[in-house]
Each structure stands twice: as C-alpha cells, then as structure tokens.
C-alpha cells in the first residue's frame, strides 16, 4: 500500500523539522508538508528534514491545506494517506496501527481518539466541554466518535478522494467526519496518546475556543443541510 503522510502547517518553524523527523523514524514512505502560507521558514525546515513541500501562496485555512495534500495524493496515485498536525501533538508511533486497519480493510477512515484510552494530553477543560458537545452533535448527524475534533486521520483512497473533491474550509475535522459518514464510509476510532504542542502557539486561542465551537456547530448543521 503506497502511503503518503500529509502534515498541514502554518508558522511552525520551531516544530516542523522535529515532527517530520519523528514521522520519518516510523515510516519509510513519502511525507508531504503543506505550508499554508507561513511567514516564517517552515517550508525550508520541512524540506531540510526530508519532506516534500507544497506551498500555498496565501493562507487558505487548514482544511484547504489538507485538501491540497489529498489532491496531490490523488494525482500521484497513492493508495492511502495519513494526516497529522505539524505541532507535535500527534505521536507518529501509532502510524503502523492506523495503516494496519486500512490494510485489513476494517475501515475507510481511521481517527485517532485521545479519549478512548484517556491517556496523555487531554486538552484544556473549556475545550473538552466543547469537544464533548461536538461529539453529541456528530452522533446526531450519524458519526459515532469520541473525539470529533481530532486531526489525526488515516484514509484509504476512496475516502480521501471524496474529501479531495469537497473538503470543508475552516473547521475540517468535524465537518469532514460528517461528510465521509454520510457518504457511507466506515469510520473507526483508535486510541492514541496526544501531547501538548512542543513549542509555539495554537492557531486557536483560549478565548476563541468558545467561539470556535459555536462556529463548528453551525458549520456542521450547514453541512447537514447541504445538497450532495
């Protein structure tokens, strides 16, 4: 199974080389870093660490960055992709497990959940309440997962082809989950241990978390209304 690891990144010069190196230690295939218009030298550092780099000329949002990776994988004929964040939150040692699920054809989409095993970084209290509400919401629209905002995914070609065509822009994780579920693909969660980011700041500030959640809820509801 030809697999591509996609790492979306924005201004993560402090982390990106270490993240690429950590993935490299677990995974022999291609790694592509999608630089979503960083103002620092994230792209060069990723390249220096041995990743291919796709560079957006302007910032489009993480959803679009991941989609660019999907488009690349589609064009280059990869059979599967894994997406993980560029801030060091997602431990790449789970990667073989993810790919094993796809290889055994037990799922089309594998989502890493930090709440199944309840170990490692569990996010802040405020955010966790939000994530819980989103989980209930996702269940209402048919996707049964414990960690709907997780950005640690593995997808087979059928599933990422759908998202390459129509990936939501701004809040891609929850919305995309609803999308693939509605398209009839099998989503399976695996327990993972997440870490707090190693350096730098999240693109979602503390005060914005509440606002973020309201927007995701609206986006998911809109997604549900949208005609396919």
């Amino acid at each position: 199974m030809r697999t591509l690891v996609i790492i979306p990144t924005l201004n993560e010069a402090q982390n990106i080389a270490a993240v690429v190196a950590a993935v490299r230690a677990q995974f022999a295939g291609d790694i592509v870093v999608v630089d979503d218009g960083s103002e620092d030298d994230s792209a060069q550092r990723a390249r220096g660490a041995g990743a291919l780099v796709l560079r957006h000329a302007c910032n489009l949002g993480i959803g679009a960055a991941v989609q660019t990776g999907f488009l690349y994988a589609l064009g280059q004929g990869y059979d599967a992709v894994v997406r993980l964040d560029g801030d060091g939150q997602h431990d790449p040692s789970f990667l073989p497990q993810f790919l094993h699920e796809l290889e055994a054809d037990r799922a089309d989409v594998v989502v890493g959940s930090r709440f199944l095993a309840r170990e490692g970084y569990q996010s802040t209290v405020v955010r966790r309440v939000g994530i819980l509400i989103l989980g209930v919401l996702s269940a209402l629209v048919g996707a049964r997962v414990t960690d709907p905002t997780s950005g640690y995914w593995a997808l087979n070609r059928r599933a990422f082809a759908v998202l390459a065509r129509s990936q939501p822009d701004d809040y891609p994780e929850t919305q995309a989950l609803v999308l693939v579920t509605r398209a009839g693909y099998r989503v399976r969660e695996l327990p993972v241990i997440m870490q707090a980011r190693s350096a730098g700041r999240s693109s979602i500030g503390a005060l914005h978390s509440g606002f973020y959640m309201v927007k995701v809820i609206l986006a998911v509801l809109v997604e549900r209304l949208r005609r396919r």
Partner: protein
C-alpha cells in the same frame, strides 16, 4: 424644502457622475454599473418630484411616502449585501482552487528540474 431638494438632486448627480467615472476607468463591472445607475436614476427621479413618491405610496396603501422610500431602500441594500456574500463565497472557492493548483504545479516543476535540494 427647496434647499433640501437641491441637495438631494446634487447628491444623485454626484452619485451618477461617480459611477460613470468608475466605469470609464474600468473600476466597476458593467453588471454593477447598471444596478447603481438604476438606483441613482430612481433616487434622482424621486428627489426631483417628491409628489411621485407620494402618488406611488398612496397607490400601494402606504400612508407616509417617506417610509415607503425607506422600505424600498432597505430591501435594495439587503439584496445587494446578500448578493455580495454569494460573490465573496464563490471568489473564496476560486482562490482556493487557484492556490492549490499553483502549489501542485510548483511541485511538479520542482520534480522536473530534479530532486529537491536542501537550502
């Protein structure tokens, strides 16, 4: 009242002049030009003859002519803003597709020129 009328007419004339100039300099797309010229023309007509507004209002069963004007102006602006939201959304989509294509093309170009070199 007379001064107000003069001001209103002057304002409409200025609006029309501005729109015409914007078209001339290629800064306004024709589809919007027609819209704004129409709106400015209607305003001009109404400010030249306020009686026309009252006449229409009475016809429609609106007691106070000015409130009809506000209603129409409000609906007009609401429509335009909604339209702009649609335009912005579709532009955002286009920008995304374009940026993604450029990123993929850049990568393809690099590949043609040989393996990526470390900076």
């Amino acid at each position: 009242m007379h001064l107000l009328k003069t001001l209103a007419v002057a304002f409409c004339a200025a609006l029309i002049a501005f729109v015409v100039e914007a078209i001339r300099r290629n800064r306004l797309k024709e589809r919007y030009a027609i819209l704004w010229l129409g709106a400015a023309g209607a305003l001009l007509l109404l400010s030249v003859s306020p009686l026309l507004l009252d006449w229409i209002a009475i016809r429609l069963g609106v007691k106070y002519g000015t409130s009809l004007l506000f209603l129409v102006a409000f609906l007009f602006l609401l429509g335009i803003v909604l339209h702009f939201s649609l335009v912005i959304s579709s532009h955002r989509d286009s920008i995304r597709r374009l940026t993604q294509s450029v990123a993929l093309l850049e990568r393809a170009l690099e590949e043609q020129r040989g393996p990526q070199r470390e900076p």
